[in-house]
Amino acid sequence: MAEAKFDELAHYDPEKVSQVDYRPPEKDWMDTKPDFRPGTWIYPAKEKNLEYIGFPNARAWSPADKDWKLPKNWKQIIHEGLKERLDKYRSLKIFMDNCVRCGACADKCHFYLGSGDPKNMPVLRAELLRSVYKNDFTTAGKLLGRLVGARPLTKDVIKEWFYYFYQCTECRRCSVFCPYGIDTAEVTMLGRELLNLLGLNVNWVMEPVANCTRTGNHLGIQPHGLKSTLEFFAEDIEEATGVAVDIPINKKGADILFVTPSGDFLADPGTFTCMGYMILFHAIGLNYTWSTYASDGGNFGLFTSHDKMRDLNAKIYAEAKRLGVKWILGGECGHMWRVINQYMDTMNGPADFLEVPKSPLTGTVFENARSTKMIHITEFTSDLIKHKKLKLDPSRNRGLKVTFHDSCNPARAMGILEEPRYVIRHAVDEFYEMPPNTIREQTFCCGGGAGLGTDENMEMRLRGGMPRGNAVKHVAEKHGVNRLAAMCAIDRATLPAVCEFWAPEVSVTGIHELVGNALVLEGEKEREVNLRLDPIDEQGQE
């Protein structure tokens, strides 16, 4: 057998990866350079993708090269770009000025815990930018230089930014612990915007952005392709349940537009979650529609720039308006909900052509979405369950011992903590929590968020996934947990690898896969297989 390469899981050994050396290097952090070893960085954006979305300085280059072919006036571009962002974002100024380097954030970062690289301490990650800010924009920095942590901008600094701003998943865990609420996600986002100006981007982010611009989803699925995907799901649903479900697409006159991350169309186990939605909507007779134009709630624009985030997100309201729906329902996704909760209304609202979401079955008016007109599927489903509108048979999930991974953004940029738990508890018999400091607002990232979940970044993904993996392993040993539920498409794409590596007895599921399996449908046949088409009696034994 050929030896596994750096972008394959088998290349790494948990015994070795888990032995992390936390001793900092001898040399000062300003005098060390990142080690661009394969497995720790992401391939640069292809020129065609940058050109398609109109980003500057598209060119062929590689982080492994000595010369990154920066544009001639790169220094000026960064200086002016930073100035512009300081003027536009109070957050940036505050976060640059206030850090006292108390170090409370240091061991909160999954990348630091998994790699031991001190520049993955949130404080130093921010310091990479702060040092340039001090040098260019503060009197103390200009007068006292290194004594106050200022340093001039060099090409090596740019390389460092690229390396470490793409070793941050913008999960905001550090921000929970910071006494000044300094949010590294904000620093990383604006840092990446600066790098964009120099044409330094990663393809794992930019290709989805280009795809999403053109086809409406990150995967580049064209309308007819989306339709056949959903038809394929419907076939599997029929095989498992004996019930044929409708697939309303781009349907004018629907009450509700449903938007979910496109990851749910492509890869297991996200696909099973997608089937779960379809079963649920069928069961309650919801007058809804899919959209091919706004076929992604996920938004890799968030990992690119505020402007790109806005442009991609704008399609959802535009499509809701075109189709004439009353309100919007959003699927299980992490960063999508950060965009919807913290940016959507400000960027693309007011959505005054929509109605305040009201459940057609329970009559519940979702006052908490009075302005955005968009609610989360677990808000919707937990309300249905509370009002006994669903007939759930948790025994169909027998054999599954489930734990729940709070996804970073729903937890720390929204606070949707109880709804998913409520739904899971009604869909399964056995549910166990991971340790308190690894869930809810203190949840650990999967290690692949913010556009880092690609295979060439495997080493960092596994390292970043170590804290989560350890916590999963803990409940697997303690309670026999064998399923990790997550309401995020990136989780469903990256946690399988994390689990396989750190807790091989556990596999990943979405919440509505559990719901879809438990839901008793009118006219269904006896359920012998689940949505994975695996025998129900053998669940959890794989």
Binding site: P24, G54, G81, A104, Y180, T346, A413
Partner: protein, 371 residues
């Protein structure tokens, strides 16, 4: 080395008045001019700082939510950790500023044989809280030098602070705790390799500075016993704008005073500015109410959207074939170019031009044809 830089700086700053105040001509400088200048820098600097922050808008509500959101009425909402109202925000900020809520959450992670284990760690929180509160109380206690008669609350504070009645005059607990807390904060910086690695000379400097201020203060009260009446005269002279530097005040007092002046003058231009900045942090001082109260970004620009019409133009035939509803059966007559495909996008004329555009405007001109 970084520690040494900071130590030397503080030592030099202390030596300056110790030597200088021996010279009759310079006593007025250290006793009157320096305090006024320091105060001006402190007030002016902080105002400047706050105005600089205020000048930049808050485009988005990026609250870090640390508790359950407001949602269905049967789910208990955490108004403090995930506030939706001004009252909630005030509660959250009060907990943060008065009791260091976020630091209280602190945990320590350890890699034990390849497994991460976590423990609660409250030492930083405790030392930080002790340090800041004692500093404030010590500062307020000093009002007795600046007011005649001494306000009742200051006398009350003194009585409580000296409740242990050790020594004559009584030792103030706050002074001792302040010194202990500063010592702890310094030691953790040098003992922990990670913290030592992230620490700058400008992190050690304020610790030495404040430590020296506290030490000289305690020395002046208990050991060297300067002429306290003279000190009061000097202080009263300063607040009544009738500066007067009496003889007989110990040179160490000028050292104490000078370092306090340095601290005040230094504060707005350093990380100590967090004293004001903590109030402005957008992840803490904003309500998480975006979904029901619209937040407006003053510099917002409308989205440059890839329109449905263009999308349908590109995929119409496939959509019709697949039986997906369309707006138009055929493409609209187009006078100009046909459709947008990845490959025939116009490229920027030259790199230089693209650079300029990027620097002048923003990095996302997106689809120019849209406009």
């Amino acid at each position: 080395m970084k520690v040494v830089y900071a130590l030397v700086a503080v030592a030099a700053l202390l030596a300056l008045p110790l030597v200088g105040a021996q010279q009759p001509g310079l006593r007025a400088l250290f006793g009157t001019i320096v305090p006024y200048v320091a105060l001006a820098l402190f007030v002016g600097g902080l105002i400047y700082r706050v105005l600089t922050w205020a000048k930049s808008p808050v485009p988005f509500r990026i609250t870090t939510t640390c508790g359950q959101q407001k949602t269905l009425d049967w789910i208990k909402h955490d108004e403090i950790e995930n506030p939706t109202t001004t009252a909630g925000v005030i509660g959250r900020m009060a907990l943060e500023i008065l009791f260091f809520r976020s630091l209280f959450r602190n945990t320590s992670a350890e890699n034990y044989k390849g497994r991460l284990v976590y423990g609660s760690t409250k030492w930083l929180w405790l030392a930080g809280l002790a340090f800041h509160w004692c500093f404030l109380l010590v500062l307020l206690r000093h009002l007795r030098f600046f007011a005649e008669p001494v306000p009742g609350f200051v006398l009350g504070m003194q009585a409580v602070d000296g409740f242990m009645e050790i020594g004559v005059p009584a030792v103030y607990v706050t002074g001792v705790v302040l010194l202990l807390a500063v010592t702890f904060l310094f030691l953790r910086r040098v003992v922990s390799p990670g913290l030592r690695y992230i620490s700058l000379p400008s992190d050690y400097f304020p610790l030495f500075l404040i430590g020296t201020i506290a030490s000289t203060g305690i020395l002046l009260r208990h050991f060297i016993r300067t002429d306290i009446v003279g000190v009061k005269e000097l202080a009263m002279g300063l607040v009544t704008f009738q500066p007067n530097v009496p003889d007989g005040v110990h040179p160490l007092f000028f050292g104490h005073l000078f370092l306090v002046c340095v601290l005040f003058a230094y504060l707005p231009f350093s990380k100590l500015t967090h004293m004001a900045g903590v109030f402005f942090s957008p992840t803490r001082n904003l309500a998480n109410s975006n979904r029901f109260v619209r937040h407006v970004n003053p510099w917002a620009k409308p989205a440059e959207i890839h329109s449905y019409a263009k999308y349908e133009d590109e995929f119409r035939e496939k959509m019709i074939q697949a039986g997906i509803p369309v707006e138009r059966e055929t493409a609209e007559e187009k006078p100009k170019k046909k459709k947008a495909k990845a490959d025939d996008k116009p490229k920027a004329d030259s790199k230089a031009e693209a650079d300029q555009a990027a620097a002048a405007d923003r990095a996302a001109p997106a689809d120019k044809e849209e406009k």
